[in-house]
Structure formats: C-alpha cells, structure tokens
C-alpha cells in the first residue's frame, strides 16, 4: 500500500479525531462529526468535478494541481496518455515505412478488404489502373475492373495463378493481375504490365501461323504434281516406289503444317472455349469409325459410352483433341492389340479415356511428352507418321475447356490418356444444339 493512501487514512483519522474532541469539549458530537464529514465529502466532490472537467479537455488544458490520492490518479492517467501517444507514433512510423516500401515496388499494389473494397494503392497501381486517389477508396475493385476474365478469376478463387486481362486504354495494355490473400480476409491485388510480353507472344504466334500458311501453298503445288505423276501410265516402274515415298513425305509435311496452324489458332484464341453443347458419344463413335478405316490399326477398337451426357464447349476443338489421342493409340499399338475409348461422368466431372495395350511410355518421358515436337523415340515416330504436335494440341484444347490431361503408362504394357472435364462443363441433360 503506497504512501498516498497512508496519508489519506491518517488525515481522515486525524480529522475525525479532532471532530470527536471538539464534540467532547463543546458538546453535540454528532453535529461536529456531520460537519467534518460534510466538509470532507465536499472536498472530494470538488476534486472529482475538476478531474472530470480535465478528462474531457485533456488535449487542451493542464491537469489540475491536486495532492494526495487525486494527484495519484491524475498522474496515472497522464502516464497512460503518454504511453498511448508513444505507441501510436511508433505504429504510424511502421505503417509509413510499409507504405513507402510498397510504393517503391515496380508492381502495382492494391490493398483490399475481405469485401474487395479498395483500402489503399500505390502509385504504380494508380497509373496502371487509372485509379483516382481518395475518390476510389472504399469502392469494390470488381466495380472498377469489370473485364469478364477478371470477374471469372475472382469467382473461381484459384489465386495460386495470375490472370492476364486487357485494360481499357488505347494501345491495348495487358496487365497480369494476381490476388494474394493475407491476414484475416484481407487481400492484396498485384498488377504488372505485361503488354510487351503479350506483344512478343502475339508476334511469335503470327509468325508461326504466317510461315505455315506460306509453306502450304508451294507444298500444295508439289503434292499436286506428285499425284499427277503417280497416275501417269507411261511412268517408268523404277520411279513408283520413290514417288510413293515422296507423296508420303509431302503428306507428312502437310499434316505438320496443319497441326502448327491449329496450335497457333488455339493459342491465339484466348483462355476459354465456347458454350455450345457437344455430343461426346456421337463424336467418339465417328472417330472410332474413322480409326477402324485406317490402313494399319490394332485389331480391336472398343467404344464404352457409359453416359449420354454432353459437354459444353467448342465441338471442333474437342474433336481435334480426341482425334489426336485416338490416332496416337492407333499408331503406337501393334496389330493384335486393343484400344478402348471410354466416356463417363461422376462427381468429379466428365471423363474421356483412351487406353491401349501398345508400347507404352517410359516414366522419364511423361513430364515432357506434351511439349511441342517432343519425341520419345524419334526414329520410330517419323516412320509411323505424326507431327509431334498432337499432344500439344490436346493439352491446349483441354486447357481452354478448363480440363486436364492425365497420362498413365507402363513401357511394354500400354498407356491410358484421360481427359478430365470439370463438372461445370458437363451437361447432364442432353440438349439440342442451338439454331
């Protein structure tokens, strides 16, 4: 117990003692005690009033100069105030440092609340997204960036990846945007200008597409003449075999060009496929018939349609993807082998699987097999045909449908390629195609 209280108690005791003495000497001890008690109460009430008045205007006036226990209380309050101010200054300093470092970042940074309202943004973000300081604080970011691809990105919530969106400005600025959640519900939005990269990509794609187109024309001429020569009755027999080989090779070149053009088109087409209903069963039946008509094929090609559900997407791209998988199976399975094509749906979505018991793929090749022109066995592939682009086309087409390609294979035993379509792409009730 500290000294202030000791003095209070001492003072009360002394005052009451004196009052009692006065009462004993002059009589009417009750009146004496009441007077002293009243005086003491008045003293404390006055100090309480001064304390209250000071508390209300703390910033403006000095604390009242009171001794004793009231002085103690006032001193404690002053101490509390000082500590609070100190912590506040420190917090502001740290916060300013944080904002300065974020402002210095070359990327645009926007701080968002859990409801995606803008709390703060740095200068780069202001420039890239044409934000207005002060005016835009509190606005939802998806009210200002309305590009459908960005809204879809926000909805899907797959924030490990970023999304590239065109922003509205002459010159076609492309921004890479990424959401990074932090703390309890807060989110950061990072924005980077990727216009140059996008332009370089576009130039590369255009180059490939143009080159392929240009090469096709002379190739068509050559193929035309080769056909004519082959049908010439007066042609020397010795030329038949070489001519056939030339025609085969020209065909191969043509198919490579076709695949290159297809791949270019898929890459340029953007991130999502269309929305028309695709009859998977019908498509797979057709492809199976085509495979059965091929010159060299395994004996058994079986079709298992376990659902009459359809897919939502672009028919031509899905046909391309499935055709490539089936052609690969035909190519790499011996004549006495078996291919199974299966379509089924479950809780995880829709699945198209092409399995064969052909030569299989060694595990070290699996991660790279969908790369353009990647060959497991260059010698064999060239002999059996194929452009080396088939699986790239499959992967791109599937990506545009939000689907994934799963490959399971054992060398010498066979392979299974499965296309996993997400549930939102599956149409459980078969619908007639529009139009």
């Amino acid at each position: 117990m500290n000294s202030a209280w000791f003095y209070v108690i001492a003072r009360v005791a002394l005052t009451l003692g004196l009052a009692a003495l006065g009462g004993w000497i002059f009589g009417g001890i009750g009146w004496w005690l009441a007077a002293v008690g009243g005086g003491y109460l008045a003293y404390h009430l006055i100090n309480l009033y001064r304390l209250n008045r000071w508390l209300r205007n703390r910033a403006l006036v000095e604390p009242p100069n009171v001794g004793g226990i009231w002085g103690e209380v006032i001193a404690q309050i002053v101490r509390l105030d000082r500590r609070k101010r100190f912590h506040k200054r420190r917090f502001i300093r740290v916060f300013r440092e944080l904002r300065r470092s974020a402002a210095a970042m070359p990327d645009g940074v926007i701080m968002l609340t859990a409801a995606r309202e803008i709390q703060w943004f740095n200068r780069t973000a202001r420039r890239l997204l044409e934000l207005k300081p002060k005016l835009d604080i509190g606005l939802r970011i998806d009210n200002l960036i309305r590009v459908p691809e960005f809204l879809r990105y926000l909805e899907e919530g797959k924030f490990e990846s970023s999304v590239v969106v065109p922003v509205h400005a002459e010159g076609g600025t492309m921004l890479s945007l990424q959401i990074v959640p932090y703390g309890e519900g807060g989110q950061f939005l990072f924005a980077r200008d990727v216009t140059r990269q996008a332009q370089v990509e576009a130039m590369r794609r255009d180059f490939v597409a143009n080159a392929s187109h240009e090469l096709r024309t002379p190739l068509t001429v050559i193929m035309g003449y080769l056909d004519t020569l082959a049908e010439d009755p007066g042609l020397d027999d010795a030329w038949q075999a070489p001519l056939a080989e030339m025609r085969r090779q020209a065909e191969r070149m043509n198919s490579i060009l076709g695949d290159l053009l297809e791949l270019s088109r898929l890459e340029a087409a953007g991130s999502t496929a269309g929305d028309e209903p695709v009859d998977v069963g019908g498509l797979l039946s057709l492809l199976r018939k085509e495979a059965l008509a091929a010159a060299a094929r395994p004996r058994e090609i079986v079709l298992k349609l376990e659902s009459d559900a359809q897919l939502r997407g672009t028919a031509s791209e899905l046909e391309s993807a499935f055709a490539n998988l089936i052609q690969n199976a035909v190519r790499y399975t011996p004549d006495n082998g078996r291919i199974e094509i299966r379509w089924w749906i479950d809780a995880a979505g829709g699945h198209v699987a092409v399995s064969d018991n052909g030569i299989g793929i060694a595990p070290e090749h699996l991660p790279r097999i969908t790369e353009r022109f990647y060959r497991v066995d260059p010698g064999r592939s060239r002999a059996t045909g194929g452009s080396g682009l088939g699986l790239s086309i499959v992967r791109h087409a599937l990506q545009r449908h939000g689907a994934e390609l799963q490959i399971v294979s054992e060398e010498g035993k066979g392979s299974t390629f499965t296309c996993q379509f997400p549930p939102e792409r599956v149409l459980a009730k078969p619908q007639r195609a529009a139009g």
Partner: protein, 240 residues
C-alpha cells in the same frame, strides 16, 4: 442514406443488397464492354469467328438483364426503399435496359462483321469505323466508371462526348454515300458499314443515357431531355 457532401462525388455506404445489385450491374456492364470491343475488332480484323462469338454472347446479356430486374423487384417489394436508395434502384432498372440495348447493337455489329469477314477489306481497312468504335468504347467505359464512383461530374463530361460521336457518325455517313455514288459495286458493303456506324452512334446515345442516370442518382435531378449546358448549370447551382 446521407449525402455526405455536395461535391461532385458522394461517399456513401449502401446496404448490402444495394451494393450487391450495383456490382451485378457493373459486371453486366463489363460484359457488354467486352462484347462491343470484340464486335469492333471482329469487323476491323475480318474475324468471323469473333463476330459469331458476339452474336452468341448476346443471350447472356439478356439473361443478366432479366436476373437483375428480378432482383430489383424483390428489393422494391421487400425493403420499400426511400429517397436516395429508391433513386438508385430506379436508376439501376433504367441502366440495365440501356445496357441490354447496347448489347443488341453490339450483336448487330458482330453479325455484320462475320458477314463482311468473307469479303475483301476496303482500302482504308475500316480505319474510320475503328476510330469511332474505340471512341464509343471509351464513352461506355467512362460512363460505367462514373456509375461505379457515383461521380456526377465525370458523368457530365462523358455525356458531352456524345456530340463528338454524332459528328463523326455524320462524317462517315457522308463518306459512305460518296462511295456508293462513285462505284455502285460498293453499295452492298457501304450499306453494311452504314448499319455498323448507326449501331455505334446508338450505343453512344445509350452511354449518354447511362450518364444521365448517374446524375439523377447523385443529385436527384432528372436531366433526361435536357440540353447538356443546362444540366451543367443545374449541377453547378447545387454547389458541386
């Protein structure tokens, strides 16, 4: 709902329902912006696939209009909003109608683009149309931004741009007529181009309507059918 200050923007905290409807309107706006951009690109780049995408996408615009309309009816029925909130709902209902019409015009442009893609491109490669198209796109974008920010001053500025759009529209029309007179073989394509620029001019008008709704929302003043200078005088008089 308070009007925090009479400056050209209003800070306010809508309740969740209103805020969510506003967000849906802006999402619809973003989609329509995308449609317009695709349609003009399809024409300029002779991309028939893109043009077709726009035509198919218009269904989604109509669906969005219906859905938001239902939501607004629900809010009107269950919450009986008053004053400023009511203005917002009314403005939203009108806004989505104009957005849907813009979608229709973009659909028309996309269809014509798909058809023209097969034909030979004219000498100037639709440069004038592209310029008008980008201008109108910018108008629409700015109008929607003004809606998002409840910025009446910005809305006013965008509304003024419609005059420029109308002038350019007239210029291109005259140009097309000249082409048609010079070479009758060009008539088919010139007519198609005229349809396209007409659609663009209409979109500009709809964007101006959007601006008028923003001004109505913010200031409670119906400025439709009012000359643009009078609108400005009105708003300035209110101390913005």
């Amino acid at each position: 709902m308070e009007t925090a200050d009479l400056s050209h923007h209003i800070s306010r905290r809508f309740n969740e329902d209103l805020e969510s409807v506003r967000a849906r309107v802006l999402a619809m706006g973003g989609f329509v912006e995308d449609q317009l951009q695709k349609a003009v690109t399809a024409l300029v780049e002779a991309n028939s696939v893109l043009g077709q995408e726009v035509v198919v996408g218009d269904r989604k615009v109509n669906d969005m209009e219906v859905a938001i309309d239902e939501e607004c009816s629900r809010i009107l029925a269950t919450r009986s909003p008053a004053a400023g909130d009511l203005r917002v709902i009314v403005a939203i209902i009108k806004t989505i109608t104009d957005l849907e019409r813009i979608g229709d015009e973009a659909d028309k442009i996309g269809a014509i683009a798909a058809r023209l893609a097969g034909m030979e491109r004219p000498a100037d490669k639709y440069r004038e149309v592209k310029h008008l198209g980008r201008q109108v796109e910018q108008m629409l974008h700015d109008a929607l931004d003004a809606f998002a920010r409840m910025d009446a001053k910005a809305a006013l500025r965008v509304a003024r741009e419609d005059r420029t759009v109308d002038e350019e529209y007239d210029a291109i029309q005259r140009q097309c007529i000249t082409f048609m007179m010079e070479d009758p073989r060009q008539i088919r394509r010139a007519l198609d181009v005229m349809w396209v620029v007409r659609a663009l001019e209409r979109i500009g008008d709809h964007a101006k309507n959007l601006c008028e709704y923003v001004i109505y929302m913010v200031h409670g003043k119906d400025v439709r059918h009012t000359h643009i200078d009078d609108i400005e005088r009105e708003i300035s008089a209110r101390g913005s």
